[in-house]
């Protein structure tokens, strides 16, 4: 038996192909939306992986540096270093900033890292070009998504930094590319006030009799000096020694140092289930709407194509074609349309994903799930057309 659906598709290939392309672009958008979510999850995991940390030590009662503001004294890491199971501990600061790059603004996450020893937690794991930061001040390593190249000068607040290295896939949980600078510079940048504010603060301190007592020389200068530096960091990243579990090392830090400590699993939960939860819901809503729109389009197209063939269907029924043959023809056409749409959508999503400003991750498992869903949608969408076709009276083929 010949394939009636196949012959019809070949005969009206233009109609099917152009409809399939339209549907495919919609499917491409759907796959891309799924890719946006996957990209966000992957960004979060990459952020954790690239930090090189096993534990995140943060201010008590906070969710850590990525989800909430956290502030710790910058000398606390020394105490942590001395605790059992701790291999390395390093301060880190995070500051989201809008900086100028070649005449236009680029949003980056400025990360302050320890530069005294290579391989400390928080440092970029690998470089595409250039070298790591070796000086204590005014050098930077940038993710290539920032658009900077080796030798470029970057203005952050009042200081200028020279880009000495380039790295890749170092992004914040929000997808902003990272710019690494020495921790001391980052601490300064984080709380740096403008000159007017500094003068105003000094005047207020001098006017306060508690800080400017006539009988205590040097007190005012000491207070002002303490106000001029930022002794805080956002977190301490800890690497544990082989043979220890994360929880074994975390628990004494929580108990004796009175900090909040998150393991890798806990931090991943915070990022994925708390930080991007709303965004994931938003994307899920889009996916549901796009799926409904796709189903409506397939149903409308297949219904229209079927209604356009009522006379032929009446003739087919009159000459004894079984209902299941006619239903199968419509079903195959719907599936054919879905397959054309899926191929177009997959190709479109693959080509346009790299153009998006944020990372789009098209996972094979999502592609397979998408294919199954599209086929299911096509089957459901064809039911209306099949119902219409089966209602056709073969008598319509005979005049009168």
């Amino acid at each position: 038996m010949i394939s009636l659906a196949g012959r019809d598709i070949v005969h009206s290939w233009g109609k099917f192909v152009f409809t399939g392309i339209g549907l495919g672009l919609l499917i491409g958008v759907t796959l891309t939306m799924a890719g946006v979510y996957r990209g966000m999850v992957d960004d979060a995991r990459t952020l954790l992986n690239n930090s090189g940390a096993d534990l995140w030590v943060v201010q008590q009662g906070t969710l850590g540096p990525y989800a909430e503001a956290s502030s710790l004294y910058d000398d606390e890491y020394r105490g942590i270093l001395s605790m059992a199971g701790v291999e390395q501990a390093a301060n880190v600061t995070y500051l989201t900033s809008q900086i100028s790059q070649d005449g236009h603004d680029v949003r980056v996450m400025v990360v302050g890292i320890e530069t005294s020893s290579h391989g400390a937690p928080g440092q970029p794991g690998f470089l595409l070009a250039g070298r790591h930061i070796t000086r204590g001040h005014y050098e930077a390593v940038a993710d290539i998504m920032t658009g900077f190249t080796i030798g470029d000068e970057v203005q952050i607040r009042r200081n200028t930094y020279q880009v000495v290295g380039l790295t890749k896939r170092m992004v914040s949980s929000g997808g902003d590319p990272m710019l690494f600078i020495p921790i001391k510079d980052a601490q300064e940048a984080q709380f740096l006030k403008d000159n007017d504010a500094i003068i105003n603060q000094r005047r207020r301190t001098a006017a306060n009799p508690a800080f400017n007592q006539p009988g205590v020389p040097g007190l005012l200068e000491a207070v002002i000096a303490s106000q001029s530096v930022n002794p805080f960091v956002n977190a301490i990243l800890v690497q544990i020694k082989p043979g220890y579990t994360a929880e074994e090392v975390a628990e004494p830090i929580r108990r004796w140092k009175r900090f909040q400590v998150y393991t890798r699993v806990q931090m991943e939960t915070i990022l994925i289930e708390k930080l991007i939860k709303t965004a994931a819901k938003q994307i899920a809503m889009f996916l549901v709407i796009l799926a409904i729109v796709s189903a409506a389009i397939v149903a409308f197209i297949i219904y229209t194509l079927t209604i356009g063939k009522i006379r032929e269907i009446a003739v087919l029924k009159l000459i004894g074609t079984k209902s299941r043959t006619i239903a199968s023809m419509i079903l195959q056409q719907a599936i054919g349309l879905g397959m054309i749409g899926f191929v177009v959508g997959k190709i479109a999503a693959t080509f346009w994903a790299p153009i998006f400003p944020k990372y789009i991750l098209l996972e094979p498992a999502d592609t397979v799930t998408g294919f199954v869903l599209i086929m299911l949608i096509c089957v459901l969408a064809s039911l209306i057309a099949i119902h219409a076709a089966l209602k056709v009276d073969p008598a319509e083929a005979i005049g009168g």
Partner: protein, 237 residues
């Protein structure tokens, strides 16, 4: 169904649409008999019941009363006696319409062969038999063409081939010459006569066409739901 090649016989066929005060009797007791190899005309004014009769004969609508016999087999006697009317139509009744109604996405040979394929014959065998008929009807050279590429006369010959391909005992032709000029209309009737004789098929031609009415040897006039038989001129074409 075995031994259908005995023509078609209709006795006291009635068809009522609706019920109660609004009921309309479209057929009020039709009697007909068409033998194998015979082509008869069925003529009548609009609203006389021609189409209703054709639909009853074609097992498309169910009569209200009467009896229909195809060969030795009773297919209707106050109710359908055949459970699968689709199969009955596919295997025993050929249709030729006013417009050819060829399937636009199948080429000529597959339009003709489709009924055989639906009946379970292999594609190769179905196409072989279709090609034989197309040759007999002088359209074999258009076997690979699509219906839209054929002239009106060619399309009608292909639709005749489609009606004949499974060698049905009965062919119902509904105004088959309406869209054709005199020459082509007479050519179609000539073909139907040839095929009726060659394949022992009983053919009923519903028509208004004054050009072809004189060619029938027997004519059934239908008026107000009743048929009257009268001899035709049987003019040679």
């Amino acid at each position: 169904m075995a031994d259908m090649h005995m023509g078609i016989t209709i006795e006291g066929l009635r068809k009522r649409y609706g019920s109660g005060d609004t009921a309309v009797d479209a057929l009020k007791g039709v009697d007909m008999q068409v033998s194998p190899g015979e082509v008869v005309g069925l003529v009548g004014p609009s609203g006389s019941g021609k189409s209703t009769l054709l639909k009853c004969l074609g097992a498309v609508i169910e009569p209200t009363a009467g009896r229909m016999t195809l060969g030795k087999n009773t297919i209707y006697d106050e109710q359908w006696k055949i459970p699968d009317l689709g199969a009955l139509r596919r295997d025993n009744i050929g249709f030729v319409f006013q417009a050819p109604y060829l399937i636009p996405f199948l080429d000529v040979i597959d339009n003709v062969a489709l009924i055989l394929m639906l009946a379970g014959h292999s594609n190769a065998e179905s196409r072989k038999r279709a090609l034989e008929l197309l040759e007999a009807l002088d359209v074999a050279h258009r076997a690979k063409a699509m219906p839209s590429q054929l002239s009106g006369g060619e399309q009608q010959r292909v639709s005749i081939a489609r009606a004949l391909v499974n060698r049905p005992p009965v062919i119902l032709a509904d105004e088959p010459t309406a869209p054709l000029d005199s020459e082509r209309a007479l050519a179609v009737i000539k073909i139907l006569n040839q095929m009726a004789k060659q394949y022992e098929t009983a053919i009923i031609v519903v028509t208004h066409d004054e050009k072809i009415i004189p060619t029938f040897k027997r004519i059934y006039h239908i008026r107000d739901g009743r048929t009257e038989e009268e001899p035709g001129e049987g003019r040679e074409i």
